[in-house]
């Protein structure tokens, strides 16, 4: 039972990584940049929920909706102000800017909320589920996280593969020039991608802090890095890759914590990444497109 319980909470943690990794991988796919401020958007989302629900006493569902709206706007504004002017710049300049935005968000949160860790109260009201005659209990947070993540992943997959804006997004990520010739507004598509990624980050923030209720201005940094690892692990740029990479990473991390050592779990996670990249440099689902000439 211990294994099953570790596995399920690993899948839940991994689902959160997957939601964050989707933002990384979609932005990378379309703008060819690593948005290292993405992790901090999770933290901002969690703080919005905290302010609305814990401080303001608002209904948790409403608080999460406000956080989604806030982060969506934040993501689009960050892209417009910080990244769009650098569209033609060297990728290193964009990367450094992203790190700058990351510090900016952390320090804004420090300024507003202070450095002490806040006690987050769960947005989930679902009761724990007891299975196998009482020997396996799964918290409502874990159940909710897994269900919400699965629904989002299915919706996102359908959006990207079946809808007109989804296909346009894939066209832009493949060839911006040719996409423009089709009449696709590339800047609009990049904004849309940032909006979707940031909305997912807000949801991830609310779910993460519901399961792990300590909230500080640095709360997004480590999950952000782990989600980035998950995206690379799955194959950066690949949406199913981010999902698989995220869930696998969460499971590996939790099983390492449960069976090997909780101090070493991060080392094991990053070790697995190194091995995967040595064996398959494009990640699990990443593909190298061989172009015909």
């Amino acid at each position: 039972m211990k294994f099953l319980s570790q596995l399920i909470s690993g899948i839940s943690l991994g689902s959160i990584y997957a939601l964050i990794a989707l933002g990384y991988t979609m932005v990378y796919g379309i703008a060819k940049m690593l948005n290292f401020a993405h992790g901090d958007v999770i933290m901002v989302g969690a703080f919005v929920v905290y302010t609305a629900c814990v401080k303001g006493g608002m209904n948790p569902a409403l608080g999460v909706l406000i956080a989604i709206a806030f982060c969506t706007v934040l993501g689009v504004v960050i892209e417009r102000l910080a990244y769009k002017p650098l569209r033609q710049a060297a990728s290193l300049a964009v990367l450094i800017t992203a790190i700058g935005v990351s510090y900016f968000l952390q320090n804004m949160a420090l300024l507003i909320f202070g450095s002490d860790t806040k006690q987050f109260s769960s947005v989930v009201s679902l009761k724990p589920i007891t299975l196998a005659g009482g020997s396996l209990t799964i918290s409502g947070e874990i159940v909710t996280t897994i269900i919400v993540s699965v629904v989002i992943m299915i919706a996102l997959t359908l959006f990207v593969n079946k809808t007109k804006p989804g296909k346009a997004m894939r066209a832009v990520s493949e060839d911006k020039g040719a996409a423009q010739l089709m009449g696709i507004n590339v800047n609009g598509m990049i904004s849309l991608t940032f909006a979707i990624g940031s909305a997912l980050a807000a949801i991830a923030g609310a779910l993460m802090c519901s399961t792990y209720p300590a909230l500080s201005p640095y709360a997004g940094a480590m999950p952000g890095i782990k989600a980035f690892v998950a995206a690379v692990f799955g194959g950066i740029g690949s949406i199913p890759g981010a999902m698989v990479g995220g869930v696998l990473l969460g499971v590996i991390e939790n099983l390492s914590k449960g069976y090997i050592s909780s101090q070493l779990s991060d080392a094991i996670v990053f070790g697995v990444l190194i091995i995967v990249l040595l064996v398959k440099p494009t990640g699990i689902m990443g593909k190298k497109i061989n172009e015909k000439v």
């Binding site: 346009a168 066209a171 060839d175 423009q180 010739l181 089709m182 009449g183 497109i289």
Partner: protein, 236 residues
């Protein structure tokens, strides 16, 4: 007034001037060929016309409307399609999705279906492969897809950049017979080609581009018989 008018166009890549003060016209219903050696500025000219590159100076008008500063994604809905060099089909998307993206700016579903039927009639092979991922098509099929995709916007003028590049002689003939068909249906064509022989046989008029300048212009049949052109571009 010509349908497409290019006036005193200058385009730079950094400090290097790729296009030096060129002017030319394309009249409605014409096929105009732009021929020249590698690096003469043919592709740059097309990219500047459809807004993928910005000129340093000069003007481009389509049906009398200045489009010099119109962003690239707004050009296609003005009736000008561009089949880029190297085909540039969306490799991860299906043939059908590629074609539908060609009609991205069009709203009328019925008209889009009509265009699709027309494209499939011109390129039966695309219909056979409609659910296949574009990246798995052969070079010739990808060229057909790129042309079909451009036709899906129902353009009045279509710019084609090296449609015969890298294709087997059989496909080259097929591509040129389709260009002839596009012309016969009344669509204007600006054709960039290295295969000057083929291009001049199909074109009404032609311009010869040499290191960013227009060195010669005239009726295609005259250029085809011109000694200098024959020596430089026709290998005779």
């Amino acid at each position: 007034m010509a349908m497409l008018e290019v006036r005193d166009l200058n385009v730079f890549f950094g400090v290097i001037q790729a296009i030096k003060n060129i002017s030319f016209d394309v009249d409605k219903g014409e096929v105009v060929a732009l021929i020249g050696a590698n690096g003469a500025g043919k592709t740059t000219t097309l990219h500047t016309i459809t807004g993928l590159l910005k000129p340093a100076s000069g003007s481009i008008t389509l049906d009398g409307k200045d489009i010099t500063k119109v962003p690239a994604h707004k050009i296609v809905s003005m009736g000008m399609a561009h089949v880029p060099e190297g085909r540039r089909v969306f490799a991860a998307l299906s043939v059908y999705d590629n074609l539908k993206l060609g009609a991205y700016t069009r709203k009328n579903k019925k008209e889009i279906e009509e265009s699709l039927a027309k494209v499939f009639a011109s390129f039966p092979r695309l219909e056979e492969r409609r659910n296949q991922v574009a990246g798995t098509l052969s070079g010739g099929e990808q060229q057909m897809l790129a042309m079909g995709r451009a036709l899906m916007s129902n353009p009045r003028i279509i710019l084609m950049d090296e449609p015969s590049m890298g294709l087997s002689p059989l496909y080259v003939d097929e591509i040129f017979s389709i260009i002839q068909k596009i012309k016969d249906e009344g669509t204007t064509v600006l054709l960039v080609e290295q295969n000057a022989n083929k291009a001049l046989s199909i074109a009404d008029r032609a311009y010869v581009l040499e290191t960013g300048r227009i060195s010669m212009e005239g009726k295609a049949s005259d250029l085809l018989n011109d000694e200098g052109v024959r020596k430089a571009y026709l290998g005779a």
